[in-house]
């Protein structure tokens, strides 16, 4: 099957998912991001790599943080940034996703940053661009349904590499609502591609997808067992709506079993780092003492996120 993310030379032309990307491309993105870290520290935080290019932030689903970091990243690359919040009402008017894309391509868009509630929506856009012969227009997935959030996955990898240096000796635990999490899926693919020998998923059966083992993940239902001797803990956000159905009885019971407290964190290695894609639900998936504690690297993740998104946009637009 043709991988729609790669051009005929095997280079990254869209970033749709971590799955299917070779290790060399992930490493290339992380290395490029490292070189951009220095730009953000300058007085004049700009490089001219995307000068004259138009980046459209196309958010079919609300997001402040991800959209803002993409906007900052694009501006530091000297691109023109146009933010479009396309809520449900405009699609209810009858314009399809691809109609919207055609219109924006006619406005000379060079790169789309897309967030959409449906898994696979960025693939549809990328395939459409190929069909209409616009391989000069690129797509970066900023989160599609439950499927993927590849820039988050990459910034998580950047963070892990920053603190732990070598992926090949690590034990990483992902905790919480993996079933509905695009971040978890991207992290799992990135970790296994980069050679992490042991990836663990911790959560109740209601929040774990079936056949996780096929993705190379070890499943734990008991957090005390799952956190034992891990180097990295990735906490996931628990959406409020998960508490209203039959998935979980209550926030309190969830926190007692799967909330990260200092006591539970003590089971991990002493130098373990704690990550979270944000926004955090304090007291639901994470105790404030951990979120604000010395092992948390949650704010550095945000900073690295800008450099990683600069790297992704400059690489796809350059190919």
């Amino acid at each position: 099957m043709h991988n729609p993310q790669l051009n005929k030379d095997g280079e990254l032309t869209h970033l749709l998912s971590i799955e299917g990307l070779p290790q060399r491309i992930l490493t290339q993105i992380l290395d490029t991001a490292a070189s951009f870290m220095e730009v953000s520290a300058r007085d004049v935080k700009k490089v001219p790599l995307l000068r004259g290019k138009s980046v459209f932030n196309l958010f079919f689903e609300n997001s402040t943080r991800t959209r803002t970091t993409f906007e900052i990243a694009a501006k530091r690359l000297s691109a023109d940034v146009i933010n479009l919040d396309i809520n449900k009402s405009s699609t209810a008017k009858g314009e399809t996703l691809l109609d919207t894309i055609d219109n924006l391509v006619a406005m000379h868009a060079n790169l789309f940053v897309v967030r959409h509630a449906s898994s696979g929506a960025p693939y549809l856009i990328a395939e459409h661009l190929q069909r209409i012969g616009r391989d000069d227009v690129h797509v970066v997935n900023a989160g599609d349904g439950r499927h993927a959030h590849p820039t988050q996955g990459l910034l998580d990898m950047y963070t892990i590499r920053h603190y732990k240096k070598d992926f090949t000796q690590l034990r990483v635990a992902i905790v919480g609502d993996i079933l509905h999490s695009r971040v978890a899926r991207s992290d799992i693919h990135a970790l296994t591609t980069l050679g992490v020998p042991e990836v663990r998923a911790i959560g109740p059966e209601t929040l774990l997808p079936k056949h996780l083992d096929k993705l190379g993940v070890h499943v734990f239902h008991d957090m005390n067992e799952g956190l034992k001797d891990v180097d990295v803990v990735i906490m996931l956000r628990l959406q409020n709506e998960r508490m209203t159905g039959a998935l979980l009885p209550s926030a309190g019971e969830y926190f007692r079993h799967y909330g990260l407290t200092p006591q539970k964190l003590a089971l991990a290695k002493p130098d373990a780092i704690v990550m979270h894609p944000g926004p955090m639900n304090r007291g639901i998936e994470i105790h404030s003492a951990v979120a604000d504690g010395p092992q948390a690297v949650i704010l550095p993740q945000v900073t690295f996120g800008i450099a990683v998104r600069m790297a992704v946009m400059s690489i796809v637009a350059g190919n």
Partner: protein
């Protein structure tokens, strides 16, 4: 009119016929095979050299959104009778609607139209439709199409009522609660792609419920579009018990699995969903053993309704014109003989319907499909007469091409 079809390989699975012979038709009926009936002189001769001559295909499930185009598609695919599910707009829940559909079909004069009446008003699963009235208007059985009767009491009453009159009910076994949010088989692929899953239990729970109600009511039930190994196993058990339960399989489910979703291909979205390799294998084994007929589940969908993210795209594929070549493709893969494969789309569906057609015995109606079993053709949108150009096989080379189709002794299609 007297017609002779010469030089063809006549395959009549019902009567165990497979030989090169001339088929004679008089007044719309089969009048002889090999030996001309007394005093026969042909008004028309069809040369079927290199072709198979078999009963016209009977398709147990085809939606006719634009009836003229779809009935033309049917005969272009060698299909001479189509069972139409009631989920049209409006649903087929009143005798006048069924009456109109039957008359419109006859007026067009291509494939025979066999409507399924709605079991409940508006297919809402609550109040019974006028079953006897619908039957009188030409409905062959009653169905909810692929919607569920959520209220088990309503289902029980419907089956009791249908049993009273000896009517059959067709149901697609799918538990409402376990399937309502899902868009793909709950398995490896749905986990990987982040698609909400429909577990196999959605099918087995519904089969279990229906079988129990059959046991209690004696209602004859035909289960449509089975998708899982476990579902088929449950039905087989009910059949061994002697319960009046039959089932069919959509041809796409014999050939495709969840893996064919690939990178969110909306053409691989079906209801019920394509399931795992083991499920496909079990369906194939059941079809090969002659336990179930194969149908197209023809669902024409507009291009715009497929150019959407996977979960928003409408499920289903065009089927009437690919039923024959896809059945042949399956037969080759499953090592099923040509006569056995043709039985699954002719005599087997006729048996489910209790029809006398689906065979070429003397006296049978002359519904006939003549096809070249070796001819290959590329499936393109332009090659399809159906308005539905939606198919996971677009671009593929298919083998088996219909040359001519007769309904009641009239040539209704010629390539």
């Amino acid at each position: 009119m007297n017609i002779e079809i010469k030089n063809g390989r006549v395959i009549d699975p019902k009567n165990g016929v497979d030989r090169k012979a001339t088929l004679y038709i008089v007044d719309g009926k089969i009048a002889g095979l090999g030996d001309a009936p007394a005093g026969f002189s042909a008004d028309k001769t069809v040369d079927a050299a290199g072709c198979v001559v078999c009963p016209g295909l009977i398709d147990l499930g085809a939606r006719l959104n634009s009836i003229e185009a779809e009935l033309a598609a049917a005969v272009a695919g060698g299909v001479t009778s189509v069972v139409v599910p009631p989920d049209a707009d409006p649903p087929l829940d009143e005798p006048e609607l069924a009456d109109r559909l039957v008359h419109r079909g006859a007026e067009i004069g291509k494939a025979r139209v066999l409507p399924l009446g709605a079991l409940t008003l508006g297919l809402q699963g609550e109040r019974l439709a006028e079953l006897a009235g619908l039957k009188k208007a030409g409905c062959v059985a009653f169905s909810q199409a692929n919607r569920t009767v959520v209220d088990t009491e309503a289902l029980l009453r419907a089956m009791e009522y249908a049993a009273t009159f000896g009517f059959a009910i067709w149901l697609q076994p799918q538990d409402h609660w376990l399937s309502r949010n899902g868009i793909a088989h709950e398995g490896e692929v749905s986990s990987r792609l982040g698609l909400a899953g429909i577990p196999v239990a959605a099918e087995t729970i519904a089969v279990g419920t229906i079988v129990q109600l059959v046991r209690d009511t004696g209602c004859r039930v035909h289960l449509t579009r089975l998708s899982s190994a476990a579902g088929v196993a449950l039905i087989q058990r009910a059949q061994h018990e002697g319960l009046p339960v039959t089932f069919d399989i959509g041809v796409h489910h014999l050939l495709l699995t969840e893996n064919d979703i690939g990178y969110f291909n909306p053409h691989a979205r079906f209801s019920p969903p394509l399931r795992a390799q083991g499920d496909r294998q079990a369906l194939s084994t059941a079809a090969a053993a002659g336990l179930a007929p194969i149908c197209s589940d023809h669902t024409p969908v507009g291009a715009d309704d497929k150019l959407l993210p996977f979960g928003e795209a409408k499920p289903g594929a065009t089927g009437l014109e690919v039923l024959l070549p896809l059945t042949l493709k399956w037969a080759e893969e499953a090592k099923v003989t040509l006569p056995d494969a043709l039985a699954r789309i002719t005599s087997a569906p006729a048996k489910v319907l209790g029809l006398a057609s689906g065979e070429l015995g003397v006296g049978a109606v002359a519904d006939i499909c003549i096809f070249d079993p070796e001819a290959t053709w590329q499936l393109t949108p332009e090659a399809l007469k159906s308005r539905g150009k939606n198919s996971p096989w677009i671009g593929y080379m298919l083998t088996g091409k219909v040359k001519s189709t007769l309904v009641g002794g009239r040539v209704v299609f010629e390539a």
